[in-house]
């Protein structure tokens, strides 16, 4: 017995206890890792990959670089103060000829048109009229002759700005910012500055929906958590019922209910409360109603699970110690539901931020959220750079929120005093 003990002590002095523990746990950890490996790979290909791709696209600037390589090279040393010299014009003329033959001129002109409105016309006109390569030394005059815009500094600043390989153009654009001719960051022209508004609207609607879900969901969750198990299970089916129907169906159902000739308006008119149909849909009201309805379960479930873990003994204890029901609720019950409120609100808010189909179906033009514009730029105008930049800003905002929430919850747990 003593001998064994001494031997054990010797072993521990040779190999540190920590390392021996690690060695003992290694197999188990490898097994655990093997179990999650399929999911890890799946996420890597379907989630992390696309997100990285999207983030890359928001700063990638390849079009002009690929189509007008010599021009980009010639502009590398341009100081941007004056219209560049003859060699740059010659390079441009050569690039345009090559691009026209290759049929790639539209790629570059689309990108340049983002930077300078009307660039598409300049490019196509020049490509059309530049029948042959100008004589050496006459490229500048020839091009300015075809389109006087080539003699303006702004045209060349646009090309230089779009020459990549990386650009802040899209990200700035997503924040209603742009660069002026001298490269300083300034506010975008008023008619183009819409995204801050859209982001603001997105956050306002999401916040509103979150608050509505909390107000409506809290009592439901409380009831579910306090009713006997049998009854609460039946009610829980009703909470989960929406998950069994498609989001599209649920949203369209609201159109049926809320439209001018819909159930609500018809009923109100029938009982004589109104003469003219109320405008309940294709406006902000419709968006709030439909989104709150769709997202309510995501609030109720975390609230329910946090309330379920609060023993009724706490409220009894509070009452026996002299707290009125209201005091007991505010000082004992409510603080213990904070993790549930936080989780539910975060879930609803983050889901709401990304909502696209519901506002698109039941909202008006002024109720479209950021996802609508992302979809618009992805599918309609194929401006993936801007779509990615809007997505990146949205992702950043969401991540920021998640971090703030994580800090709050962590703080809660520390003050909540759970052992370990």
């Amino acid at each position: 017995m003593t001998a064994a003990f001494v031997a054990g002590a010797d072993a521990s002095s040779e190999v540190p206890l920590k390392r021996r523990l690690k060695r003992a746990e290694r197999t188990r950890r490898l097994k655990a890792l093997a179990l999650i490996l399929p999911l890890l790979l799946f996420l890597l290909f379907t989630f992390l990959g696309p997100i990285a791709g999207m983030l890359w696209r928001s700063v990638d600037d390849w079009e002009v670089r690929q189509v007008l390589p010599h021009t980009v090279a010639a502009l590398a040393d341009w100081d941007g103060k004056d219209v560049p010299g003859e060699p740059t014009f010659a390079a441009l003329a050569g690039d345009i000829r090559t691009a026209r033959d290759a049929g790639t001129i539209a790629i570059a002109s689309k990108r340049l048109n983002y930077a300078l409105n009307g660039f598409r016309t300049i490019m196509s006109g020049t490509a059309r009229n530049l029948k042959t390569l100008p004589e050496p030394g006459t490229a500048k005059d020839t091009l300015i002759g075809i389109n006087p815009a080539w003699g303006e500094r702004a045209t060349w600043v646009a090309i230089k700005g779009a020459s990549g390989p990386l650009t802040s153009f899209y990200l700035l654009g997503a924040l209603d910012l742009t660069r002026n001719l001298d490269g300083a960051i300034v506010a975008a022209p008023e008619e183009q500055a819409i995204y801050r508004d859209v982001f603001g609207r997105t956050f306002t609607i999401s916040l509103g929906v979150t608050v509505l879900c909390l107000i409506l969901g809290f009592p439901v969750a409380y009831m579910l958590a306090t009713l006997p198990t049998g009854q609460s299970n039946v009610l829980m089916i009703f909470v989960l019922l929406p998950f069994w129907t498609s989001l599209l169906v649920r949203t369209c159902a609201w159109i049926v209910v809320l439209q001018s000739e819909g159930i609500v308006n018809d009923s109100l008119r029938w009982i004589g409360l109104i003469d003219e149909p109320l405008r309940l849909i294709y406006n902000r009201f419709g968006v709030y109603v439909a989104m709150t309805h769709v997202l309510l379960p995501f609030m109720i479930l975390p609230l329910y699970s946090s309330m379920r873990s609060i023993s009724p003994a706490y409220m009894r204890a509070a009452a026996s110690l002299g707290a009125s029901p209201v005091t007991a609720f505010l000082r004992i019950y409510l603080p213990q539901t904070v993790p549930g409120i936080g989780a539910g609100s975060l879930l609803v808010f983050i889901l709401a931020i990304g909502y696209y189909i519901t506002p698109a179906l039941v909202g008006g033009a002024a109720d479209q959220m950021i996802s609508y514009f992302i979809a618009f730029y992805t599918t309609e105008t194929v401006n993936w750079g801007l779509a990615s930049a809007l997505g990146a800003v949205l992702l950043l905002a969401t991540l920021l929120l998640a971090v703030v929430y994580g800090k709050l919850v962590h703080g809660q747990q520390v003050t909540g005093g759970m052992k370990n």
């Binding site: 026996s320 110690l321 002299g322 759970m418």
Partner: protein, 369 residues
Amino acid sequence: MDGGMVTTAQALVRFVGVQKTYDGEHLVVKNLDLDIKKGEFVTLLGPSGSGKTTTLMMLAGFEVPTHGDIYLADRPIKNMPPHKRDIGMVFQNYALFPHLTIEENVAFPLTVRKMSRSEVKERVRSALRMIKLETLAHRHPGQLSGGQQQRVALARALVFNPQLVLMDEPLGALDKRLREHMQLEIKQLHETMGITVVYVTHDQSEALTMSDRIAVFNDGIVQQIDKPDALYERPVNSFVANFIGENNVLAGTVENIEQGFCRVALASGGSVVAQAVNVAGAGAATALSVRPERVSILTDGQAPDGMNALPAHVQDTIYLGDHALAVLKVAGNGEFMVKLPPGAHAGLSHGQSVSIGFRPEDCRALDPV
């Protein structure tokens, strides 16, 4: 009637004809009459489902009596909400608020009473000193051991000087050693502070250790309410005799009753003399109750005059350190226990025939089981 008035005046808590049913069919508490005096430590003891916890919950205000009235300091409290009753309560699993520190937990009953900050601080400090946990004031309940949490729950229930303190199996979750320690601690608090305590437990040794009086509940009825020693020495029915302590039961029929004693014919033949406590009369069935320590094994097989003697067969002997038990078969009862001094079991072997003897005063004829 006069005597009744006196007890009424002294009683802090009075249950008068209280009934309680949850389902409208079956009464959980049947016609409860119970007086608890100021400064008394009364334990409600009984098996689970006997109505003791329901009784406590009615007193605390979490359950409403179906019938009858409860008086606290001569005021009916049937319709008074729990937070106005001024009753401190210690719950089974302590119910310490997990999001508050120990200090905030103990301060809670004071702050809801809107006491001044300085007084709250002073009272909390002295309460924590009382339970010797001053150093843990800023911890959360989850960081404390079971015994420490128990003490905090106690301090929280006492800090606002309630006129009555209820305890619902407060020591149930603690291990044996800690439980015994806490029993003494609660007992001391009761004595030094002069508080009135109503204590619910199903542990009879806990009840015997701590209580001034014990109300033994079974089937919604108080079977007997008495001091611990009286309850053990003089149970009034078979349920109490069996529930409190070890008990040997012998079934028989009453032959005659004379001056408080009766002769009982045992089912297996033979007869003994017993105190007639709870028997209907001659010819009625009865269950005799004899405590193991009141029985001796007769070495010479001869009982002294006036002592009951019965033949027995040794089934087993159990060594328990400070004493030993002999398990005998007596008059058809194969689990008849006799308590022996240490070492005395050595001479007994399985199957051996012996004689046992006990005095009629130590044998109580009770209602048949």
